[in-house]
């Protein structure tokens, strides 16, 4: 498929555990975004990559959250010492990049449940 792929689609974990969520963007897209969406709310910006570097990580809620994109393609969102409040759908999006934000292409999301 040519779309944005996110794995796992569902993840259930216990409070205090470590979680990794993976995003495989559309081939050739240099910009990659992570958003978090709670039930009944709009997506909340977490971090934006242009290539391998995090151009804007102002949305990461605290130092338990970290994201990488080492080769400028696949990205991993890492959450340490998970808390029940981290439960949400984590959305990844990509775009061709450029000076202005055009259309974002979203994946289906990873639903994280922290028990």
């Amino acid at each position: 498929g040519a779309g944005v792929s996110q794995t796992p689609s569902n993840k259930v974990t216990e409070k205090g555990k470590y979680v990794e969520l993976r995003c495989d963007p559309i081939s050739g897209h240099t910009a990659l975004y992570w958003y978090r969406q709670s039930l009944g709310q709009g997506p909340e910006f977490l971090i934006y990559f242009q290539g391998t570097g995090a151009a804007d990580d102002s949305g990461l809620p605290n130092d338990r959250f970290f994201a990488v994109r080492p080769e400028g393609s696949v990205s991993t969102l890492k959450i340490q010492r998970t808390e029940r409040g981290d439960s949400a759908v984590y959305l990844c999006a990509s775009s061709p990049g450029g000076r202005s934000t055009g259309e974002l292409f979203f994946g289906e999301g990873s639903r994280l449940t922290v028990l």
Binding site: Y35, Q41, T101, L104
Partner: protein
């Protein structure tokens, strides 16, 4: 934080009627986009309108932008049951290039 707020939060109409959703935002923008989300799925881009544009059309969609009032509207004409979804506006705030900030969404229900 949410930059935009959609109004109404929920809208229920019958098939064939028009649906209008409004979005208000707080700060100067480069562009405003509308997205659609089916329950439990990812978001799909519908239309983008730049800050120097006032109106755009795409199929049954019509979007307007009033930068003086910091508001936008999305009109879906001749609605269909398949239009049932949540609709979000998203803004690229001036000075924050390449980051979209989403609103709270309007849940549209189209009944037969």
């Amino acid at each position: 934080s949410q930059q935009g707020e959609e109004d109404p939060q929920a809208l229920s109409i019958q098939e064939g009627e028009n649906a209008t959703m409004n979005c208000s935002y707080k700060t100067s923008i480069n562009n405003l986009q509308w997205y659609r989300q089916n329950s439990g799925r990812g978001l799909v881009h519908l239309i983008l309108i730049r800050s120097n544009e006032r109106e755009k059309h795409s199929g049954r969609l019509r979007v307007t932008l009033d930068t003086s009032k910091k508001s936008s509207s999305l009109l879906i004409t001749a609605s269909r049951a398949a239009d049932t979804a949540s609709y979000f506006c998203a803004t690229e705030v001036t000075g924050t290039a390449s980051k979209l900030t989403f609103g709270t969404g309007t849940r549209l229900q189209v009944t037969l």
